[in-house]
Symmetry: C2
Subunit: 546 residues, 2 copies
């Protein structure tokens, strides 16, 4: 008996059937649709996916015919009697309550959008987006000519909906409680996305809370905590999800500190006859080992499969979740895997970090641009702890290589030697991932020392800032107080630099960190001390100090 | 003293400088250019890279000014006196022969296009493409209005040039000695590329040898071994490269069985004061362990760096080369990593294989298509031995993930659990790489048994071919003698199938292998024996049997 027919539930059902032709497999789904493309919902509203039914990847009839599964849509499980192994079910279609017994129960109830008890939270023009009916409702409003929307929450769904509604010609106000977009990224990595959204005409309200929803001229008025009132045709609440554990909790099943249902490595809850999988369960974080809630489609699918294996008597275990995720918003891509710097800090896990800005492919071949890449790694053996990339071309590829590196215990030293496919349209002889390995290994070996944008102005105040870019670049912008000695003049101006330094720390920088590294090597080999080079150069600096 | 200033040589020079400000570093380059974008040459001829000087990534002056390197272009090393540690150099600029002593000599002489002693091999309209002057010569002919070209050799450079010349409006005859394009792929994987080239109007002459070159109406006449004579404005010879080891051999340095210069793990030749790096050296193959010649830009760059490290007293070693490579030709991409099936066969290395055809990203999101993927893995632990992918979107990403998996000792079992970035524009909840892991693990676990396209018609003759696609698909095409039972009818027609089978082997197939796998599971769980399912389905079958 499987409760919930989307990612984990449908995976569990079909896998179970592939392992047994005699099992009675019942799939309960309170909605009308099973295994629909929930990640595709914003794209139908935006118009990229024009056909509504393209999102119905698998239909109940297909599961019945091909997999001999007893699919019951419009049927919601409401309570579990664990002693008698009975499930009470509300059948909305037949308008009745009934009971079914189970040998093994599999809970795949997912996570629901968070809706805090704010004034007007039930306003008819305030929506959340979780399923096909939600999508249809929102799309109908847009199709009817809606002009303005307020999107609350700047994480994956919120930002995908910003793009979708903007594509439909709407004016968007984006409200986010935190000081940054995309909380899975570190703040400085989200900056480029913020600029990109502004360039696309999206009005950002960061560090801002939506406090109430009332009737307005266009349909809804959203009041912000800074006093501003936003008039719109509709508002979307996308501030996060919480696991749907109510029925499990009522049945006395245990949850973990994250709020997700606790399961063992076979995805069994505290009741050995009840399994759970997907967004409602607590997982172990691959990098930190902490119990975590990481709602993602890929892990949900794999967990559903593992549940079916174990139910059918196979030894099958789920390892951990590392939080690999990706967002497309307009022309940009943002992706991450593993732990963020803020997470490592919070858990007091020692780390080192670098920033770099490599091109997606050979810079002389058209169609590429510099990506913003951050790599976090352990100070000892150079274990990869996390990566974040924001850019245009080639972002998804590099995050997947790094996600694979984390699983393969590939260190930053090994990253230098990865043999990746190179031709000018796809990469560089030294791929961004190799390059990150070189920089990180140089750091760990002590061949270079970094200073970071956040060291300015505090830590840099007692030293000399040395800008090694060209005179032209220096004239256009430089850090206040910096002295300009272009890289190719360094060797001939060593005495002058020594005179300027006067024993103080020397803080080198350039545009992305390559020239300042070369300057660092020259100066150090000529006996200079107290040297460091700005990680990520001006490009990262400007993401921190705007 | 470094001989050769392109990939390995230039990398060695700049790395050496980063480690020492006192070393005298001399870079000898017989040509005019150092560290140019040799992989970009076809794209300037084709017009994608419009500016000639974009290919001059690094200039001699830049190396002089920024790295204090004594760059001597137009200077060719001609002989080595190992006892006296003297290099004899021909200075074409100063028109003189002179000698220089060295403490450490680094040979980075690369590999030259193979030019067999055929009649007319020196014909003025027969070209090879290795450097900027070669490119300029060919481009001048094209710019002057050349209409027809014969390209001989269908490997990377040959195919990139086919696209380049075709983009310029030329008619192309492509002549290849082997029965397939791209010898690094297995033959069946090259088929889609062959169709694509034909669709683009390229005339293919496979299994054909160019025998002589004489004057012709347009400029050159190429005679083929089948008697045909091709008239063209120009011909390009791109049948492979051979390491430039003449000087090294004359100096008594050892070569390996591959013909490349033999080096130790520090890239030292048989003379401890002479190093070598790049396309002229023999490497160990990552998967097979065999001494091999694998000319690639990425490994060349890394080897140059390792040489510099070791010369400067650091312990630095090169591991092996796995042959990760990639080709763009028109709208298609072909890529591979590790060993091919024919290489594994030749070396008697046990392997298993699967074929699959997953989409580059979620099929309901626009802009994707099915790729053709072949995975080779060890029969025991499921070690990944090699992968080949031919398709359109997402090919480069998957080959890089698999290349990383090979380095990280990630097995096909682990591949199932890789957590890759999923949103509809980038992938699927079950990524092609995960999916390949599921299929291969099913194979190793005995949950499925495959038959292969090459088993037809020999091995399949004694059995029953069962086509589980729809009646409509069956009517359009099917394997001769096959019986059609659509997947969803299997359960209701078990007795009928048993009657047809009469104890014979049952060979299932469908379009790509998914439905026939499901049919396999149903039949097996219902007690059927002697079952197997066609790996890769009709799509792979049609690549073998056209």
């Amino acid at each position: 008996m499987i409760v919930g027919g989307v990612a984990a539930g449908a995976s569990a059902a079909v896998r179970a059937r592939r392992l047994s032709e005699v099992a009675d497999i019942v799939l309960l789904e309170r909605g009308e649709h099973v295994s629909f493309a929930n990640c595709g919902l914003p794209y139908h509203i935006g118009g990229e996916i024009s056909k509504h039914d393209d999102l119905l990847v698998v239909t109940p009839d297909y599961l019945r015919q091909t997999f001999n599964i007893d699919v019951r849509t419009g049927n919601e499980a409401v309570s579990i009697d664990r002693d008698r192994k009975l499930l009470t079910i509300h059948d909305y279609v037949g308008d009745r309550i009934y009971q079914e017994s189970y040998d093994k129960l599999v809970l795949c109830q997912g996570a629901a959008p968070v809706t805090p008890p704010l004034p007007g939270i039930d306003h008819p023009r305030l929506f959340t987006l979780r399923n096909i009916p939600d999508m249809d409702t929102i799309k109908a409003i847009v199709d009817a000519g809606a002009r303005r929307a307020v999107v609350i929450g700047a994480n994956y769904i919120g930002l995908e909906m910003v793009e979708a509604l903007s594509r439909r010609g709407m004016h968007i106000d984006l409200v986010e409680m935190q000081r940054q977009l995309m909380p899975s990224l570190d703040a400085e990595m989200a900056r480029e996305l913020e600029c990109h959204l502004e360039d696309k005409g999206i009005r950002l309200h960061l560090d801002t809370i939506a406090e109430s929803f009332t009737d307005g001229a266009g349909g809804i008025r959203v009041a912000l905590n800074n006093g501003e009132k936003l008039e719109a045709d509709m508002a979307l609440l996308a501030i996060g999800v919480r696991p749907e554990t109510d029925m499990a909790l009522n049945a006395g099943l245990e949850t973990g500190i994250s709020g997700g249902l606790r399961v063992d490595r076979h995805m069994r809850t505290s009741d050995p006859d009840i399994y759970a999988a997907g967004d409602m369960v607590e997982v172990s974080h691959t990098v930190t080992g902490e119990p975590s809630l990481i709602p993602l489609a890929g892990p949900a699918n794999r967990q559903g499969r593992i549940v079916a294996n174990h139910v059918m008597g196979r030894d099958s275990t789920y390892g951990s979740t590392q939080g690999t995720s990706i967002l497309k918003v307009f022309e940009m891509t943002a992706a991450c895997t593993g732990a963020s710097e803020k997470l490592l800090k919070k858990l007091n896990i020692p780390y080192r970090k670098i920033y770099l800005h490599p091109y997606g492919h050979a810079s002389y071949y058209p169609g590429t641009s510099q990506m913003h890449m951050k790599l976090l790694y352990g100070p000892g053996l150079g274990k990869v702890l996390g990566a974040q990339i924001v850019g245009r071309d080639g972002v998804d590829k590099r995050i997947d290589i790094l996600a694979t590196a984390i699983r393969g215990d590939i260190t930053v030293y090994d990253m230098r030697e990865l043999e990746l496919a190179y031709a000018p349209p796809y990469g560089s002889a030294r791929d961004p991932v190799n390059y990150a390995g070189f920089v990180a290994a140089n750091d760990l070996r002590g061949d270079v020392e970094f200073w970071y944008a956040e060291d300015y102005p505090g830590k840099t105040a007692g030293g000399l800032l040395l800008d090694v870019r060209t005179k032209k670049e220096f004239r256009a912008w430089h850090i206040e107080g910096a002295v300009n000695v272009p890289l190719h003049e360094i060797r001939s101006r060593l005495d002058e630099i020594r005179g300027l330094q006067q024993g103080r720390p020397l803080f080198l920088y350039c545009l992305v960190g390559i020239r300042s590294y070369l300057a660092y090597r020259i100066l150090r080999l000529h006996g200079f001390e107290h040297l460091s080079t700005l990680a990520g150069g001006k490009k990262t600096f400007r993401s921190v100090h705007r």
